[in-house]
């Protein structure tokens, strides 16, 4: 390897021609050989980039794009789980069905609320945490790794533990509430309590990860911005508002987009939060998300066609959110 580097380091001028012609042979033969090599070379230069990126696109078409479009097709059919390849055309029936279903709107509302309750505090805490981690710290690597431990924990394992911690009668959290003189809370059956509990699993798993992303962006801010702000007499808080936050805007946008997509997908946490209610998301469907509703329609009620319609409805909602997001961030950029 080192030798390769050494040869690489020596500058070779005018070296577009590959394949050195072997010395001491007939000029014509060398020319022919060079021409042949050169053709192969041209082909290689021209096509190998496509060869290198094609596996990704082939896989995406097969397991991403095609299924996405086919979901739209399936949403116009009656498809039973027991015979998934047997499709009967129904037009828009599946859509009218789910839009008439109160549980769909309930699930949409739950997804929105759980998304807000889990994303907003998560990103705010991550920002604060990143700010602290950006100070000169003793054992800074230790904190960073520890913050990532929840990320290493699976949804299933985390949810099972939180179910116990949030237990109504013997859970740790209610015990603490009782200790400080507050009423115990029925975390599984309360409408807001259960949404909060489910969100807390998401918050626990992702705060540290997002903090690291913010920290990386903070460390990339050039120091002289702070120095000139300090010269202008800006306090540390004003530096944070006027230097740190604007520099972090692309990163913040990125985390908001990723968290929004993540929030629209929440599935495992509510499924396992009341394992015996399963797909219904609590006795009153109080924490049934759209992901869970899709699963219930498709795999419990065995209507894959209807489940496809839910998937496409989710897709459309995401597109609307994406457009809103783009508009808002453009406005913000224009105003500053």
């Amino acid at each position: 390897m080192t030798t390769r580097h050494d040869t690489a380091a020596s500058p070779v001028k005018g070296g577009a021609a590959p394949g050195r012609p072997p010395g001491g042979r007939g000029a014509a033969e060398a020319d022919r050989k060079r021409a042949k090599l050169s053709r192969r070379w041209q082909r290689d230069i021209r096509w190998s980039p496509y060869a290198f990126v094609s596996p990704f696109f082939l896989l995406f078409v097969a397991f991403g794009l095609f299924p996405l479009i086919y979901t739209g097709w399936a949403s116009l059919h009656t498809v039973e789980l027991t015979a998934p390849t047997d499709m009967k055309w129904t037009g828009l029936d599946n859509y009218t069905r789910i839009f008439d279903d109160d549980f769909f709107w309930n699930a949409a509302k739950n997804t929105l609320w759980i998304g807000i309750i889990s994303t907003v505090p998560q990103l705010l805490m991550a920002m604060g945490l990143a700010h602290i981690l950006n100070y000169k710290l003793r054992a800074s690597t230790f904190y960073r790794v520890v913050m990532l431990a929840p990320y290493a924990t699976s949804i299933a394992a985390a949810s099972l533990v939180f179910v116990l911690l949030f237990g109504r009668d013997y859970g740790m959290i209610n015990w603490v509430l009782d200790l400080v003189g507050l009423d115990k809370i029925d975390w599984q059956n309360g409408s807001w309590a259960s949404k909060f509990a489910v969100s807390s699993i998401v918050i626990w798993r992702w705060t540290g990860y997002n903090a690291l992303i913010y920290l990386a962006a903070m460390q990339a801010i050039p120091q002289d911005l702070y120095e000139s702000a300090a010269l202008d007499g800006a306090s540390r808080w004003r530096q944070f508002i006027h230097v740190t936050l604007p520099s972090l805007r692309p990163t913040i946008l990125f985390t908001v987009v990723v968290s929004t997509i993540g929030a629209s997908q929440v599935f495992g946490e509510p499924l396992l939060f009341d394992a015996n209610k399963g797909a219904s998301g609590g006795s009153q469907h109080q924490f049934q998300t759209l992901g869970l509703y899709l699963y219930e329609q498709g795999w419990v009620n065995q209507h894959l066609g209807r489940a496809s319609a839910i998937a496409w409805a989710m897709f459309l909602i995401l597109i609307v959110i994406g457009i809103l997001n783009a508009v808002i961030s453009r406005r913000l950029r224009a105003s500053s």
Binding site: G64, Y143, A149, P150, A156, L164, M172, V257
Partner: protein
């Protein structure tokens, strides 16, 4: 070897947002980095540390107690004596041995393939010139915005048609679509692989494939290792899709086996915790050993994200 290759040569274009290596040395010049943290910062950090670790520690505590003890107040705060018995029962009851084997196979193949494909694609996007490069890269980033949940129904139909339920390839194949990996390797190779080295190899008559094999792979090795670990973790923890196509008594992954533990009307809570602990331990171990590298990798992938 690794040390010589990880260091980007001095003549590489200086990139202000580059970090990862040399962080320690340049930290004092970073924003806020020149300020020492006060006691309040340490108190907040201590609280976050406890918050991050407590559920995990308590999993072990609950797993070491018996079920009756968990149905009493106050909840236990220290370890009981049943830990290893419970771990053994959970291991056998939840079919965890097979689940571990399956998950290792799935996560291993998936991580390896993603790293390989992402490196060659990332190299092409970072260092090769070809028509439509920018448009294709935009598409790659765009695919990150499509949630996998939207594709599960046709995938499920495919699995049914091919008779692949309870077969590991049903989980492995869809997991190979990974735009993050391509993006991650592209960002790394942009700054870690100087054009001069590629040109020199070209002058020596190396084909593109030889360049990949002898120049790109050695230069990308640190990033490949980090991406491999991230993908392994992601695949190990993947829940929805394995849950749909694998069954608990067929060939479950760890997550599918864990989900099965929570069911039943009188679940044995300490047994569930023992299972959760077993399912999490391998990854916690990986993070304890390679934590620093993983943190560096996440932070590196985040810049310009």
């Amino acid at each position: 070897m690794t040390t010589t290759m990880t260091k980007p040569p001095a003549d590489a274009a200086p990139d202000p947002s580059r970090k990862g290596r040399g962080r320690r040395g340049s930290k004092s010049s970073r924003a806020g980095g020149h300020l020492h943290a006060g006691p309040i910062a340490y108190i907040i950090l201590a609280l976050f540390t406890i918050g991050s670790l407590f559920p995990l520690v308590w999993t072990a505590i609950a797993a070491s107690r018996d079920n009756q003890r968990l149905a009493q107040t106050p909840p236990p705060f220290w370890f009981g004596g049943n830990l290893f018995d419970k771990l053994e029962i959970a291991w056998n009851d939840a079919n965890l041995g097979e689940a571990f084997l399956n998950t290792t196979i799935v996560a291993g193949i998936s991580a390896f393939t993603i790293v390989f494909l992402s490196t060659i694609a990332g190299f092409a996007f970072a260092k090769l010139r070809f028509r439509g490069r920018n448009a294709l890269m935009l598409i790659v980033i765009g695919t990150m915005m499509v949630p996998p949940q939207l594709s599960i129904i046709p995938l499920y139909m495919m699995v049914a048609k091919l008779d692949w339920s309870d077969q590991l390839q049903a989980v492995i194949l869809p997991s190979l679509v990974n735009a993050f990996g391509v993006f991650f390797m592209r960002q790394y190779l942009l700054q870690a692989l100087p054009d001069e080295i590629i040109e020199a190899a070209r002058v020596d008559g190396a084909s593109s494939w030889r360049v990949v094999w002898h120049v790109v792979f050695p230069a990308a090795r640190p990033a490949m290792a980090v991406l491999g670990m991230l993908m392994f973790v992601q695949s190990w923890n993947d829940f929805l899709w394995p849950f749909l196509v694998l069954t608990q008594n067929g060939s479950p992954t760890v997550q599918v086996a864990l989900a099965g533990l929570g069911r039943g009307y009188t679940p044995d809570q300490s047994l569930i915790m023992a299972g959760a602990l077993l399912g999490t331990l391998p990854l916690l171990l990986v993070f304890a050993i390679f934590g620093k590298q993983i943190v560096g990798g996440i932070m590196q992938g985040a810049v310009k994200g």
